[in-house]
Symmetry: C2
Subunit: 288 residues, 2 copies
């Protein structure tokens, strides 16, 4: 099934290179890139995790020095640059509770639609950020039903399953994937996880990684758009401004159809009563 | 972590070609192949789904005509052929309740250690088999802590997560993957799912597909062994008898270590209280 009354969506993931702790520069750079993507026809624009702050923050104090609230000017700038498009991007958030989070904002011309705080913190982030404790929302946006995860969140199948069951057509994933060794010829392992999550849930997943070596850390630069069958339909090509962009036009309503044979449906085939038999082991936070 | 007192295990997945509804031939063929694998040093031997019966059974009556119980001679033959090895293999089971199941047996020299009945039935199987309603066990075997899934079961991340949380080091997956179209240069999509499941749970997964066109159905022939990092460490090569075998030596105790950074652990990092927020949507069998 698909809905001919719903237009297709051009998704663009902008593999930007923020500079560590250079808030003003990063805000201007990301806004300019969003503006260019809008001009190129994008309807959904994803930028990296922590694009306003950079990633390799050395201390809670440094993170706090570049932490912003959702009423910061950059989000109004993103909204203005985006025109009719929807933007998902990562930022270092100063919460109304005074704590600092690794967050993502969903922005359109109406402003900030939602802020999601990363639930699963990776490595040094645990020293710098407070983990979110609220599941990501599924938002009805002008480009479709949109879920958000940040980087390591993607590696927990509970999260992608939860968003898909909640109706997400597209999951946008601002990310900073530290470069790992991998066998020659293999795609990044994070992308294997994204592809499986897309396929077993029949959702689109748009992963926006970053570039630019930062305090000695290199990145996978694995930005990719994955379709609802789990196939990679776009990797990066440099645009006119020299930014690596992954771009693909998708029909998000394909995610409505969970049928994969005349009598199989990925959701209707779930056997909750069987999974519950694992529950004694899964109730605790941590291993059995 | 790994345990130097536990020996490594040679895993062999035998991509056999059973003949439809030829029970006696299939029993003899699978037993001979197990015997050869044992001679080649295998400690864990996996053979395909429904290896005793073939897959393309046309009717419940045809399935019943080749259905066997766990006290059938073939399992004693497998045990004798296996010597010190453990065998996991699929068969068409006549249950003590009179129903017919798509099952897998775990066999060693002590006999049949467990029978698992496929929970998620694929396509035409729904006309022929009754779905199992019991979660797969995790068995303490002489080669390690072993979980079992059958084919389409693997595509439900709840199943792999559940087995890993229950302590499985290795998940053996007898399968019959019908050949699907895929982009040039891509591995089978089922293997992408297996790799992600292995990586996010840090377990070994041994998938044993079948060969041999049967009633017009061709197979993916995607047999592979995946390590706890999600990397494919073995695909098939023909053995002296011309059987495609995937073989790798593994240290199952690597699956004990869920740590993937100095402060990250794939199980301890799980946020059950967040996943529970999806629960209203996940309680029902079927979509929200």
């Amino acid at each position: 099934v698909s809905d001919p009354t719903r237009p297709s969506v051009q998704v663009a993931c902008l593999q930007l290179s923020p500079k560590i702790a250079e808030l003003a520069d990063n805000c201007a750079m990301s806004t300019a890139a969003i503006s260019a993507a809008t001009a190129d026809g994008a309807g959904l624009i994803v930028v990296p995790e922590l694009v306003t702050s950079g990633y390799m923050l050395e201390s809670p104090a440094e993170a706090r020095s570049v932490a912003i609230t959702p009423d910061h000017q950059v989000f109004a700038d993103w909204a203005a640059a985006a025109g009719e498009a929807v933007v998902v991007g990562g930022f270092c958030e100063l919460g109304d509770d005074g704590l600092v989070y690794n967050s993502a904002a969903v922005v359109d011309t109406d402003g900030v639609l939602a802020v999601y705080r990363k639930v699963h913190l990776w490595d040094g982030e645990k020293r710098v950020f407070t983990a979110g404790s609220v599941a990501p929302p599924v938002l009805a946006t002008r480009v479709g039903s949109l879920g958000v995860l940040i980087c390591y969140d993607l590696e927990f199948p509970e999260m992608t399953r939860g968003l898909a069951l909640a109706g997400a057509e597209i999951i946008a994933v601002p990310t900073n994937w530290p470069l790992l060794n991998r066998p020659d010829g293999e795609r990044p392992p994070e992308l294997v996880i994204a592809r499986a999550a897309a396929r077993v849930n029949r959702v689109f997943i748009a992963c926006c990684d970053r570039a630019g070596v930062e305090r000695g850390q290199d990145w996978t630069k694995g930005t990719a758009i994955v379709d609802a069958g789990g196939w990679v339909i776009a990797e990066t090509k440099k645009n006119d401004a020299g930014i690596p962009v992954a771009s693909a036009t998708i029909d998000p309503t394909q995610a409505w159809d969970k049928a994969i044979s005349p009598v199989n449906d990925l959701f209707l085939d779930r056997r909750i009563s069987v999974y519950a038999q694992f529950e004694g082991l899964m109730d605790a936070e941590g291993p059995a």
